[in-house]
């Protein structure tokens, strides 16, 4: 009893420390770092691009399979749930805004606010992040001025009024990204317009070129992208040997001579070998006849 009372306090302390450590390790959740971007591709779709990462044991890691709930803020503080989305292996997710919800909003400069939330996740702490933007449109066209093609783009707000003073990028769509055309940026004028001369004829498949105009991460409008396909390029001649029988083609397109000679050699060797194997049978049967 004496010993019990002597060791009781330290033992209880150790037990409590162990339990609290265990509980802490069980409850330890990561803090996700979320970034949001509103992207509108003209005539196609509008969506919120979500990207999430966290500081794991080996530095920053992508937060894969992380579920987000998306809310739209309406009538000041009210939130309407729009749905859920989960990040892929790269920690990215895309939530398509099917209806941007301009109803009940007469103010053309109305700011749309969306809230992206992590809720009740086993691995990550609850978190919220919001994004706000105003509706805008970007139109792109091709003009010819003094025998020179020009790309024109017009940025307008939700009711069609030109937006002045925003910076647009112009480029040619290529397989792995956008090839810049002209300067880094072009500022829209009072008509919300930019004009970019196309001095060079660029190569394109069948002469078709896809020009893109991009409003990149604007504080007010987010990212807006518009593109136009125009037949003003130099046609690329397809020099691919994909359909030919070459040394580097798959088995179905082996050159004929390589089908012919090796197979002739294989047959030339293996037919006598089969006969020689058969000769073993003849030898064994030869004795049987004799006996």
């Amino acid at each position: 009893m004496k010993y019990y009372s002597k060791y009781r306090t330290p033992l209880l302390s150790i037990l409590l420390i162990c339990l609290s450590t265990l509980t802490y390790s069980q409850n330890k959740k990561y803090k996700a770092r979320v970034s949001l971007e509103y992207i509108k591709v003209m005539d196609q779709e509008s969506y919120i691009a979500i990207s999430a990462k966290y500081k794991g044991e080996e530095g920053f890691e992508q937060a894969s399979n992380l579920q987000f709930t998306i809310y739209k803020e309406v009538l000041e503080d009210s939130l309407v749930s729009l749905g859920q989305v989960e990040t892929n292996d790269d920690g990215k997710a895309k939530f398509v805004l099917k209806d941007i919800g301009l109803d009940n909003q007469t103010d053309t400069l109305a700011i749309h606010t969306y809230l992206v939330a992590i809720e009740d996740n086993e691995k990550f702490r609850d978190a919220k992040k919001s994004i706000s933007f105003s509706e805008a449109s970007l139109t792109i066209g091709l003009e010819m001025v003094d025998s020179t093609y020009q790309i024109s783009a017009v940025l307008t707000d939700a009711v069609g009024r030109p937006v002045q003073g925003e910076y647009l990028k112009v480029g040619l769509k290529r397989l792995y990204g956008m090839l810049q055309t002209g300067k880094d940026n072009y500022e829209t004028n009072e008509d919300g317009t930019i004009l970019v001369s196309l001095d060079e004829r660029m190569p394109g498949i069948n002469g078709n070129l896809t020009y893109q105009v991009l409003l990149k991460e604007s504080d007010t409008y987010g990212t807006i992208k518009a593109q136009i396909i125009v037949p003003i390029g130099t046609p690329i001649e397809d020099e691919s040997s994909f359909d030919e029988r070459t040394m580097w083609s798959p088995p179905s397109k082996t050159p004929f001579y390589l089908l012919l000679f090796p197979n002739l050699m294989i047959l030339g060797v293996w037919i006598p070998l089969i006969l020689l194997t058969f000769n073993l049978y003849r030898i064994s049967k030869s004795k049987a006849k004799n006996t």
Binding site: T254, I266, P272, L276, N279
Partner: protein, 438 residues
């Protein structure tokens, strides 16, 4: 009954292992088991357990594979070429050569599978193989050579199996097996005709296939545009080297077997002398190819070749290179030019040096080239720049070598080392036996 014929059959019949044979076999099995353990690790973890990385993507496995292919060429050398050219003295050596060839080519095929990162996808090689690729040519030619080698080993055994069935020293069960394997051989004129024609055809066929197997193996390298491999001469260079390695292997094995089974009456000093002379000739031919293969690139010294050659002559691989060239080629030639050097024991030592030199020569052909690509190696971990085999690679490689020796050991246990029928015929004992029996 003719006593001399009985004596010959007794002498040449397979014999049970003595204690030395049992220890030797147990040792080989132990080495193989170590290799199997390592291979299981490699199979589970992948090739990351090896020293191979992005640059040295062929390592000790492939150099070992080339060595086995080289050794297997001996089957065609001793068996076919000497048989077709009517050389009588080679009879006691043919079986040894055939056994070595079969063992080596089996292990060559196995080594390729070992080198695969995903051996479970091996069937893809056949299902999706492209005839444009030398690797597929190699697969085809190795399979063909293995088949011919087995046939060339088996055919001359038919009369011997028949003799062993009737007069062998083994158990009843073993003699029953010999009987089955003899395929009812009686030696009548019809059987003899088929037998003779078949062996002749096999001897003719194995020569081009043997040349093809080593040429194609050389093309695996030569069709790759790299310093040290970019040569139109690689096929003949490899064949010359293979003859040297193979002849060395035959001499080494025939010495051990002669000593172990007291075959001095059948494998005589004269055989060693003649094999020694043959080895000198083969070494000189190979030396010529070596000079050709290194002198011209040295003379031209294009930037990449110069870096590669420098690493061989004075750099990282110099010790190995000069040991293989001098110890495995030049010194053997000098030693074998003297009659005393062609006596059994000195020749055995020289043959071992030649075989070891041949093994390291393949290592030197494969590895340094991969360490010197045309594009500079930049921005990679230091360990990628240099290749050195891990202990797992060594244990697996040693296991394949032990595997080849185990196949030879087991075949020697159950097959007559020296052809009984042919030797009896050459000594005229067969006729005497027939007369005595009648």
């Amino acid at each position: 009954m003719n006593q001399t014929y009985d004596q010959l059959v007794d002498d040449l019949s397979p014999k049970k292992f003595g204690w030395k044979g049992k220890i030797w076999t147990a040792f080989l099995v132990f080495v193989i088991l170590l290799g199997v353990y390592s291979y299981i690790q490699q199979f589970r973890e992948g090739l990351i357990v090896t020293g191979m990385r992005d640059y040295a993507l062929w390592g000790v496995y492939i150099s070992n594979f080339v060595f086995f292919v080289a050794i297997s060429l001996v089957g065609s050398l001793v068996t076919a070429i000497l048989r077709l050219s009517g050389v009588q003295w080679s009879t006691p050596l043919t079986r040894i050569a055939e056994i070595i060839a079969v063992a080596a080519i089996i292990m060559a095929g196995l080594t390729i599978i070992i080198d695969m990162g995903r051996p479970d996808r091996m069937l893809n090689l056949f299902m999706h193989g492209r005839l444009q690729s030398p690797i597929i040519w190699d697969v085809i030619v190795i399979t063909t050579y293995l088949f011919i080698s087995v046939l060339l080993l088996y055919y001359p055994l038919l009369p011997d199996f028949s003799i062993l069935k009737k007069r062998g020293q083994g158990s009843l069960r073993l003699r029953e097996w010999y009987g089955k394997l003899s395929l009812n051989w009686s030696g009548d004129s019809k059987q003899h005709k088929i037998y003779t024609q078949s062996i002749k055809l096999l001897s003719v066929m194995i020569i081009p296939v043997a040349f093809a197997i080593h040429t194609v193996t050389a093309w695996l390298f030569a069709t790759t545009y790299r310093p040290g491999w970019d040569s139109t001469n690689f096929g003949p260079y490899f064949i010359a080297g293979a003859f040297v390695a193979g002849a060395g292997a035959v001499i080494a094995v025939m010495y051990v077997l002669r000593k172990t089974y007291q075959l001095e009456n059948y494998i005589t000093d004269e055989h060693f002398d003649k094999m020694g002379k043959m080895l000198v000739l083969l070494c000189l031919v190979y030396l010529y190819f070596n000079i050709n293969e290194y002198l011209i690139p040295t003379y031209k010294s294009t930037e990449e070749e110069a870096v590669h050659l420098q690493s061989l002559f004075t750099g990282e691989y110099a010790a190995l290179f000069w040991t293989a060239i001098v110890g495995g080629l030049v010194l053997p030639v000098i030693a074998l030019l003297f009659p005393k050097g062609r006596k059994p024991l000195p020749l055995f030592i020289v043959a071992i040096a030649v075989v070891l030199g041949a093994w390291w020569k393949r290592y030197i052909i494969v590895i340094p080239t991969l360490s010197h690509p045309f594009l500079p190696i930049q921005g990679v971990p230091e360990s990628w720049r240099h290749y050195s085999p891990t202990w797992m690679e060594w244990s697996i490689t040693l296991a394949t070598l032990a595997g080849a020796l185990l196949i030879i050991t087991l075949l020697v246990r159950f097959l007559p080392i020296v052809p009984i029928q042919e030797t009896a015929e050459e000594k005229g004992l067969l006729e005497m036996t027939k007369i005595t029996e009648s």
